[in-house]
Amino acid sequence: MSNNVKAKREPLFHIVKREDLKIGYKIMIYAIAIVVSLFLGGIMSSLASKGDPFSFFVSLIDGCFGSSRKLWVFLQQMALILSVSMALVPAFKMKFWNLGGNGQILIGGLAAIACMFYMGGKADDGVIVLVAVIASALAGAIWALIPALCKAFFNTNESLLTLMLNYIASGLVTFFLAVWVKSGSGVLEPIKYGNLPELGNPYILIILFGALITALMFVYLRYSKHGYELSVVGDSPNTARYIGVNVKMVVIRTMILSGAICGLVGLLLTSGMSHTIGVKTAQNMGFTAIMTTWLGNCNPLMIIATSSLVTFVTKGMEQVRMDFGLTNDSIANLIIGLVYFFIIACAFFIQYKVVFNIKLKKAVKATADNTVVASTEETSTEIEENEEEVK
């Protein structure tokens, strides 16, 4: 026995799951991560353009809040990301990896543009808008229904399936552009008919939509029976079955909701903003929203924070690019990626803690010939370490 203890080398540290951490500490960990990552980003930008890191931060803030127009654009962008995140929240809470936000947005936008293209000039604008709203929500819902049905009945891997559907959606957009644009350039001129109405300025409608969806989703998840059911399905499908929840039904229902919201975002992006469509119309929001939703811990209130952070960095970086004379969005992607990494890593420090075994090692060495003592020592040092951690 004693030989065994000697021969086995103790690792330097081991990892323990943490009990609930105080909210103050959590915020502190996140704040440190964000500041450090942005600081690194500042250094990189200044390396690329020979500017100084301080003006990086000035540009970053200026890009979002520098003028009233920039502020409106910031809020609009944030509302869009927030809406897509809200579409993903119920799916993610159900542990359904909907990576298909991009595709659902695109297909919704495509449906809206199709309505505008075929009905434009022939029907009243109000009618077109109404049909486009229904069509885009329906299209998004169908695009999400496909993986939902496959998951429910055949247990297909939904993350791979939704990922593929993204590209099929963008392929369909290319196809329809080729059909619609006779010149073959693949660029559709903005359509004048059936645009969404502007409320005062072009931004308010989208911002209101974002706020409304967030509020509704918050209530839906927290106070409705549906919201409760889907979180049970996410935590343990067996428990859900035991208490009489129809798991397949919940999966399908939730994904229809998720897809429909994404489809509506597609409507906003096309009929409400660009009045045309291209493969990049979704602006990769499906993926961005995956990040904001996950980093926001699937909690609508926290997602407001994460999506404003991501929007802040994205919009701010556009300004940095202009001010620093950078030619493309490479540095923006680089820095956003960096911010993601740091925030992702935060989850580890919140969920787990590292317990160092240095003390333990000594204890084991000293009592190597007495295993019983060593083992009790081990537990006691661990408790000591735990107490230190808590303090």
Partner: protein, 321 residues
């Protein structure tokens, strides 16, 4: 027809590198959605290596073939592995969510690659370097169409096939490969029989990423003849490579054929004349549609031989059983 097959086989190497790398990674139970970013990173690394090497020569029109290829491959592998290392650190050691980390890595990797390409890579000598890297066997022309199809490609195409075969053999026939598959199927059980789960995961992610990175390097230096416009092209290949992993049922030897099929589908629009814009749009859809169908069929039939590794996407924490 010969031309179609020739460019399809040549092109297939892009997918084959990416796919083999991703298969190796997925066999350890890690769904690495960062492959597109990693392929971009590999491109940047390889191009940086080539650019530095070409700049160091007194006469850049006559580089040494062996040194050029080796530097490119090593640098591509190294850069891609570094990006893979970030992923491994976050998902294996820090137990972060794999999908999220992968997507973040794609964002980061594309930005990183473009950053390197714009600021540090002098692309002046790339067309010269590319003719060297893409040169086929000297006897290819004597063999007519047969030579054109099979022997006219650059060294990297053959490297891709060799790597795929080696990985296939390694996974199926070697003891370490068996261990690796065990880690992907049931890390708890693998740990219990004394396999060092984290070490296996790290190595498979690092090597897999490195292999995938060669795909991007190959595309720019061989297929595109030294032209590089933006990361977006290579990113798209990365997603196709992930699709190909499903299409080939997680088998690197099937991936050789699968990547040629994808290669044919990719180059087909350029060979089909007539009213091409609608038709080429439809042809470009086929790889994804076929992948979806394969995914459906394997999940419906539930065939045990064709399933993803069962611990794919799950984080392994030793103290939680």
């Amino acid at each position: 027809m010969v031309q179609l097959l020739q460019s399809a086989i040549r092109f297939s190497a892009v997918f084959l590198f990416g796919c083999t790398g991703e298969i190796l990674t997925e066999k350890s139970g890690h769904l690495n959605l960062g492959i597109p970013g990693i392929m971009c990173g590999g491109t940047a690394g390889g191009c940086l290596g080539v650019a530095l090497y070409m700049a160091s020569l007194s006469d850049p029109s006559k580089p040494d073939y062996f040194a050029l290829v080796m530097i490119g491959i090593l640098m591509a592998f190294l850069f891609a592995s570094i990006l893979g290392g970030i992923y491994a650190l976050l998902t294996v050691s820090l137990k972060c969510n794999q999908n999220i980390t992968g997507l973040a890595l794609t964002t980061f990797g594309t930005g990183f690659a473009q950053f390197i390409m714009d600021n540090f890579v002098e692309r002046g000598n790339f067309s010269v370097a590319s003719t060297y890297i893409a040169q086929g066997f000297p006897f290819a022309q004597k063999l007519g169409w047969f030579g054109d199809i099979f022997f006219s490609h650059g060294i990297l195409v053959y490297l891709a096939i060799i790597i795929a075969l080696v990985v296939s053999f390694f996974l199926k026939r070697s003891k370490i490969g068996l261990g690796l598959r065990a880690v992907g199927e049931n890390p708890g059980a693998a740990d219990a029989v004394g396999i060092k789960v984290d070490k296996y995961k790290y190595i498979s992610i690092l090597v897999g990423s490195g292999i995938a990175g060669l795909g991007g390097f190959f595309y720019v230096m061989d297929y595109a003849q030294g032209m590089y416009d933006s990361y977006a092209t290579i990113e798209a290949f990365g997603w196709l490579a992930i699709a190909l992993v499903i299409f080939t049922l997680w088998r690197p030897n099937l991936a050789i054929i699968g990547s040629i099929v994808f290669g044919i589908l990719y180059v087909l629009p350029y060979f089909v004349g007539g009213d091409s814009s609608t038709r080429s749009a439809l042809i470009k859809l086929i790889p994804y549609v076929v992948t979806v169908l394969v995914l459906l069929v394997i999940s419906i039939t539930g065939s045990k031989k064709a399933q993803p590794p069962s611990a794919l996407g799950l984080t392994y924490f030793r103290e939680e059983r």
